[in-house]
């Protein structure tokens, strides 16, 4: 049985999965002495379809120039490629305006942009007595920026805990969301536990006390339809390399009123209105937050990526993830000594499944799987506090994406049985 075998026709799988897989050149690769690649590390970074690579190559070979400032033909073509990516991204998350889409270098920078500028003078400035509320299941990129902000301004950092079954513990919400709360920042989908959080509910509560709501969409945007207006949030961060786009680009979407109230972040070319030696004034958003030459070829790639996802249909992608996740939860349950962390039902979660295997350290699990061509992640997945909450130092994580097949899950389950044998645990 090959990994592209379609004998498992699970309901919900993407139609034409073989053809979809053929879009991704790397999936044809073999690793570890001839084993077909079984890539189950998509929550870490996704693979790229040919159409994304081709768009980038076409840009570099035929249209490369700097944007905005250049008025020649190449400059106009490059600007068109770059700015139309902004349109595509705006449409992809249903942003009310293209000007609310700021390109950053990754999701981490997008969150830091907000946390860093909230320290400075402005209508939203955070100071002593103010509180910033996060959760215990955040990625480090949604923890450390808020620690830096609160340490540097004298504000207080608070957080929601996690229930035993891996969901947000909302029992003390009334104590946590108060008049002192200035910012609530949480992940839409956990990259470790897989949990899908009730973002709209929390946003409603936060808005009642006048807090701004920042959502880390790094894991959500790749795998489910995301509508920033329906969720009624204020800011959304996500990253290009997890939505089949390239590294080097991230997105901060923000409601214009909020973005307008944040002071500048990085200073430099393109973010100014006028500059004298004594003082400068700043361009309107999105340019205010895009100092220096932006990630141009990366935006072209990201534009092609969201077009690709939109063509597949994000509802279909979500259905595929749910089907694969359900199948994987089943398969993993068959491995004795294996414990899945986080919600046990596929419909409550995204496509990342972290687990422990009794008697074998995650590094060693990942290493043995790798020798069979199976790529998973081992470690704390940049979520140390969430690991600590469950009393574990690290875990093994498999994460699927739109190109994952049930047969790849079978290969994982076989690999885990082999791992146990290799390390002589029953």
């Amino acid at each position: 049985m090959t990994v592209t075998d379609t004998r498992h026709a699970l309901p919900g799988l993407l139609p034409g999965l073989d053809l979809v897989r053929a879009d991704f050149p790397i999936l044809g690769r073999t690793v570890a002495g001839g084993n077909p690649l079984v890539y189950l590390d998509s929550a870490n970074t996704s693979q790229k379809p040919q159409v994304v690579i081709d768009a980038m190559v076409d840009h570099l070979e035929r249209h490369n120039a700097n944007v905005a400032r250049a008025m020649h033909t190449l400059g106009a073509e490059s600007t068109e490629g770059f700015e139309s990516a902004r349109d595509k991204v705006a449409a992809f998350v249903n942003a009310p305006s293209r000007d609310e889409v700021v390109f950053t270098k990754n999701a981490s920078e997008a969150i830091n942009l907000v946390a860093n500028t909230l320290a400075w003078n402005g209508p939203l400035q955070v100071g002593p007595g103010d509180e910033v509320l996060i959760t215990e299941m955040e990625h480090h990129s949604n923890i450390v920026p808020w620690q830096l902000l609160t340490e540097r301004t004298g504000a207080t950092l608070r957080w929601f805990g996690i229930t035993d079954d891996g969901r947000l513990d909302l029992s003390d919400v009334d104590d946590l969301i108060t008049e002192r709360t200035k910012v609530v920042s949480l992940t839409w989908v956990s990259n470790m536990l897989g949990t899908v959080n009730p973002v709209a509910d929390i946003a409603r509560r936060a808005h009642e006390v006048g807090a701004i709501v920042v959502v880390d969409g790094a894991q959500a945007v790749p795998q489910m339809p995301v509508d920033v207006q329906a969720a009624d949030i204020d800011l959304l961060a996500f990253t290009g390399h997890k939505v089949t786009g390239p590294t080097g680009i991230g997105v901060l979407w923000g409601r214009r009123e909020v973005l307008d109230q944040l002071p500048p972040f990085l200073g430099g070319g393109e973010m100014i209105e006028t500059v004298t030696m004594a003082r400068s004034t700043y361009a309107p958003v999105p340019h205010k937050f895009e100092a220096g030459t932006p990630p141009i070829v990366e935006a072209v790639g990201l534009g092609a990526a969201v077009d690709y996802l939109a063509a597949l249909g994000m509802d279909n992608v979500r259905a595929h993830e749910e089907a694969i996740t359900a199948y994987a939860l089943q398969g993993l349950a068959s491995v004795s000594g294996l414990t899945v962390l986080g919600p046990q039902r596929a419909e409550l979660r995204g496509g990342a499944i972290s687990f422990e295997l009794d008697g074998v350290h995650p590094h060693d699990v990942a290493q043995v799987l790798d020798s069979r061509g199976i790529a998973v992640r081992a470690g704390h997945h940049c979520a140390k506090p969430a690991h600590k909450r469950f009393g574990v130092q690290s875990s093994t994580r498999m994460s699927s994406y739109l190109y994952t097949t049930p047969a790849e899950i079978d290969a994982l389950v076989d690999g885990l049985e082999y791992t146990k044998k290799y390390f002589k645990v029953s």
Partner: protein, 159 residues
Amino acid sequence: MDLDALYQEIILDHYKNPHHKGLREPYEAEVHHVNPTCGDEVTLRVHVSGAGEDAVVEDVSYDAEGCSISQAAASVMTDLVIGKPLAEAMSVHETFLALMQGRGAVEPDEDVLEDGIAFAGVAKFPARVKCALLSWMAWKDATSQALDQTATPVTEETR
């Protein structure tokens, strides 16, 4: 690249001999706008009389530094709006905006835009659209500030 489509005779004429140039009194509002990409600048004053539906663009005066397109656009704009009821001038503005943002697909209406039809070619040069719109944006901004200053409350429709 059809250069003559961009640099129509009319545009070059307005560039060499701009109409209504120079800053004049009286005025209710003065604004300073900059094109951040290239540094083109315009200082523009508006003098509006009346209020609400009776508002009239009495004068628009300006001082500008910039390329042929931005200079000519300022000159043509003043021809088009001075003396018109404000509502009508705003509607001319909308028509010009639509032409500029039409990427060359919009047919210009000479009855409304007069010399402004010469800018039809600019719409095919995305980098120059901003040049053609700089003074129009300044005028819109100044007008809205002028209306804010008049004692009579301004209705939403006229803004």
